[in-house]
C-alpha cells in the first residue's frame, strides 16, 4: 500500500489537495495510507518551499499549487512515481 503525505500548514489549497487525492483513490478503488503533515519543521525537512507539497512513499513528487488530476492518477497507479 502506498503512503501519501500532503504537506501544508492548513491553507485552502492544502485541504483541496488532500480531498482530491482521497476522491481519486476511492474512484479507482486503490487503498492508500493518506497523511496530512501540518508541523512546520517536519514540512521543511522535505525541502519543500511552496505548499501544498505531496510526498509518495517518502519521495517529494509535487510542490506548490493544487496538483492536476492526471498527476494524482499517476501517483496512485505508477509503481515507481
Amino acid at each position: 500500500m502506498k503512503n501519501i503525505k500532503v504537506l501544508g500548514t492548513g491553507c485552502a489549497n492544502c485541504k483541496t489537495t488532500l480531498r482530491l487525492i482521497e476522491e481519486a483513490a476511492k474512484a479507482k478503488g486503490i487503498e492508500v495510507e493518506l497523511e496530512k503533515v501540518e508541523d512546520l519543521p517536519q514540512i521543511m525537512s522535505y525541502g519543500v518551499m511552496s505548499t501544498p507539497g505531496v510526498v509518495v512513499d517518502g519521495k517529494v513528487v509535487h510542490a506548490g499549487g493544487i496538483p492536476s488530476k492526471d498527476a494524482i492518477g499517476n501517483w496512485l497507479e505508477d509503481p515507481n512515481p
Partner: protein, 351 residues
C-alpha cells in the same frame, strides 16, 4: 510516459489554437476597453437615470469601473501568469543564494513580482531561502515585495488611477522592500530567528518544474493563473467598487480633505497604523481608496494606507511568529512602517 508522448503529438495543433485564439481575445479585449464609457452611459439610460442625480452618478461609476477593472485585471494577471511559468521559488532561491546585500536585495525585490507566491507558503519559503544560504536581509526584501507589489494591486491601480500612479506604486513599493531588507540585513538579526529554524539545513532541493514546459504549457499557465486569481478576488472587487460608487455619489465634495488631506500631518502615520489590523487584499481596498481621493484625500496618505494594509497585517505577523522571535518581528514592522511613512510624506510633499 504515456501522457508525455501524447502531449508531444498533439502539441502543434494545440499551439495553433493558442496562436489564433490569443490575438482574437486581445482584439475583443481592446474593443471592449474602448467602449467602456458607452456601456456606462447605456446602462444609466436603460435604468432611466441621469448623471445629475446622486443615484445616477453612483450607478454610472459602478457600470464604468467594474468592467474596466476586470478587463485590466484579466489582461495583467494573464501576462504575469505566463511570466511566472519561467520562475519557480526554487529557481529564485538559486538565483539569490549567496548574493551580497545591496545587489541581492534589489534582485530579490524584483523577483518578488514574478515568482509565484501564495501567502500561505510564506513561512516554508522563508526557511527554504535561509537554509539555502540566502542572507536574511535579502530574504526579507523578497518577502516584503512579493505580497505588496503584486499583479492585482498593479492592475487595479492602472484601471482606477492611471499608469503614472501604478508606476509610482511599483517603484516606491520596490524601494521600501529593498531598503527595509538592507536595514534588517545590516542589523544582523540572525540570532532572533526561532531556534528550530536555525537548525534546519535543507540540502535536498524540492523538484523543479518550469524548465521543460512548452510554450503551450506557459500560455495555458497564464489562463490558469487568471482563473485562480480572478476567481478568488472578484467578490472583493465588486464590493469595493460598490462602496466606492456610494462614496462617489453621496459623500460631499472635499469631505475627506479635512481628515486625509495634505494639511493634516498626522494623517500619514494615522493611515499606516489604521492599516495594520486591516487584512484585506488589494482588490477590496483600492476602489474605495480611489473614491476617497476624489473627495479630497491626499495621494501620499492613501498610498501609505494601501501599502500598510497589504504589507503589514496582523494575521501575517502571527504566522511569522512561528519562525521569528519578537525583536525581529518588531524590527520588521518598524522598518517597513517607517519606509511606508516616508513614501506617504514624500508624495504629499511632491504632488
Amino acid at each position: 510516459m504515456n501522457t508525455s508522448t501524447e502531449t508531444l503529438k498533439t502539441n502543434p495543433s494545440c499551439l495553433m489554437v493558442w496562436l489564433i485564439g490569443l490575438p482574437l481575445a486581445a482584439g475583443l479585449w481592446f474593443l471592449a476597453y474602448w467602449h467602456l464609457g458607452d456601456f456606462a452611459d447605456w446602462t444609466i439610460s436603460v435604468l432611466g437615470l441621469t448623471r445629475d442625480t446622486h443615484l445616477g452618478e453612483a450607478v454610472h461609476f459602478f457600470a464604468y469601473d467594474t468592467p474596466k477593472v476586470f478587463l485590466l485585471l484579466i489582461g495583467v494577471v494573464y501576462l504575469i501568469g505566463v511570466i511566472q511559468t519561467f520562475f519557480s521559488p526554487e529557481r529564485t532561491r538559486a538565483l539569490l543564494a549567496g548574493k551580497r546585500l545591496g545587489i541581492g536585495n534589489t534582485l530579490a525585490a524584483l523577483l518578488g513580482i514574478v515568482t509565484p507566491f501564495c501567502s500561505c507558503s510564506a513561512v516554508p519559503l522563508f526557511i527554504g531561502f535561509l537554509s539555502a544560504g540566502v542572507p536574511l536581509g535579502v530574504t526579507f526584501s523578497f518577502l516584503i515585495s512579493a505580497p505588496m507589489v503584486n499583479e492585482i494591486a498593479l492592475a487595479l491601480l492602472l484601471g482606477l488611477f492611471g499608469w503614472k500612479i501604478a508606476a509610482l506604486y511599483l517603484v516606491t513599493g520596490l524601494a521600501v522592500a529593498i531598503v527595509a531588507g538592507l536595514v534588517i540585513g545590516r542589523l544582523g538579526m540572525e540570532r532572533h530567528l526561532q531556534d528550530w529554524v536555525r537548525e534546519i539545513h535543507a540540502g535536498n532541493a524540492a523538484p523543479t518544474t518550469g524548465d521543460q514546459l512548452s510554450w503551450e504549457d506557459r500560455l495555458r499557465g497564464g489562463l490558469h493563473h487568471v482563473k485562480e486569481i480572478v476567481g478568488k478576488v472578484w467578490p472583493y472587487i465588486i464590493v469595493g467598487i460598490g462602496v466606492g460608487a456610494a462614496i462617489h455619489g453621496y459623500v460631499p465634495q472635499d469631505f475627506m480633505a479635512s481628515i486625509m488631506g495634505k494639511d493634516a500631518w498626522w494623517s500619514v502615520p494615522g493611515a499606516v497604523i489604521l492599516g495594520i489590523p486591516m487584512y484585506t487584499n488589494a482588490a477590496g481596498i483600492i476602489p474605495i481608496v480611489e473614491a476617497l481621493i476624489g473627495k479630497g484625500a491626499a495621494l501620499g496618505t492613501t498610498l501609505a494606507f494601501m501599502m500598510s494594509v497589504i504589507a503589514l497585517s496582523l494575521p501575517e505577523m502571527l504566522i511569522l511568529r512561528k519562525v521569528l522571535k519578537l525583536p525581529l518581528i518588531a524590527t520588521f514592522v518598524g522598518v517597513v512602517g517607517t519606509g511606508i511613512l516616508l513614501v506617504g510624506f514624500l508624495f504629499n510633499a511632491v504632488l
